[in-house]
Symmetry: C2
DNA sequence: TTGGTTGCAAACTTTTTGCAAGCGT
DNA sequence: ACGCTTGCAAAAAGTTTGCAACCAA
């Protein structure tokens, strides 16, 4: 499959520093690894655990893969990052500092596009009205073909 | 996570036998394994490769896991089965003999619900009109909370 | 007979886990 | 000092691959 490129460069708001307080409030500790991993995700926009690890290790080579997995879980619990499944393989994590969005993935060129959740409101409304189902659109990935590849 | 139960028992149309011809037409061969694996998916409704293997092995213990993976790929190529990601782990395969549908997965109780693709037409239309993106709704899984678990 | 298929074993990729040492608070 | 965290190594889970024997056509 072609390499994924992203149409929505992550122009994220800088971490306010108040997440560190929330982290402690939940009984977690603030460690260099956690700051590095969160920063990596904000740098990379969308990244798999593997890519996060590589990015972090460019500066601090001693950081371990298990730490990345464990930290990603903590950061997701804190609501600082989210993940989606952009391929049949590893999940992709992204920062939540911006607006909530879901993803479109083109099977032709591999391009990933971020779309505002509003665009799916018709679906979420119907699911809620007709089935009482509260959808988590931020986790959604819609596969298909982009305009160029659909032809 | 709770075990998934399914609200849409697969009442699939019996294989007409004409898939065997299509299979040969594409240069594939008709083998007992392929018939068993397709039958397993129609029996099970929704199943991971692992579950398919276990089901097939109840009758023919010699069937191998690689054969299941390879066959699932062939069957999907023929359009006889499809897969969706109902968990962060193994993919789930289902028969395409019925109507096309996408899935709802409840994070509370794990329940999986099949929903007719029509219900998502508002989303697919907007994606097509505004972005030219042709969505493959049959592959979609929407995570969230069912009416009971949403409270 | 020909070449697509299968079973087997080994390799691989991604993620999880046990544990002792380390460090944030 | 207490106990959450980390690095490491091994295990687990899921999938893929090379290859010789096998069998559908």
């Amino acid at each position: 499959m072609p390499e994924a490129e992203h149409t929505h460069p992550n122009v994220t708001a800088p971490a306010t520093g108040d997440w560190r307080a929330e982290l402690r409030a939940k009984g977690y500790r603030l460690t260099p690894q956690r700051e590095l991993i969160l920063a990596a995700i904000e740098d990379l926009g969308h990244a798999t655990p593997d890519e996060v690890l590589a990015h972090v290790q460019e500066r601090v080579s001693s950081v371990n893969a298990s730490t990345v997995y464990r930290t990603l879980e903590v950061l997701e619990d804190l609501g600082l990052v989210r993940h989606a499944h952009l391929s049949d393989r590893a999940p992709t994590y992204h920062s939540v500092s911006g607006h909530e969005h879901f993803h479109l993935k083109c099977r032709g060129c591999g391009q990933v596009t971020s779309v505002d959740v509003d665009l799916a409101s018709a679906l979420t409304d119907r699911l809620a009205d007709e089935l009482g189902f509260v959808a988590d659109i931020g986790h959604l990935t819609v596969f298909g073909r982009c305009s160029r590849c659909a032809g």
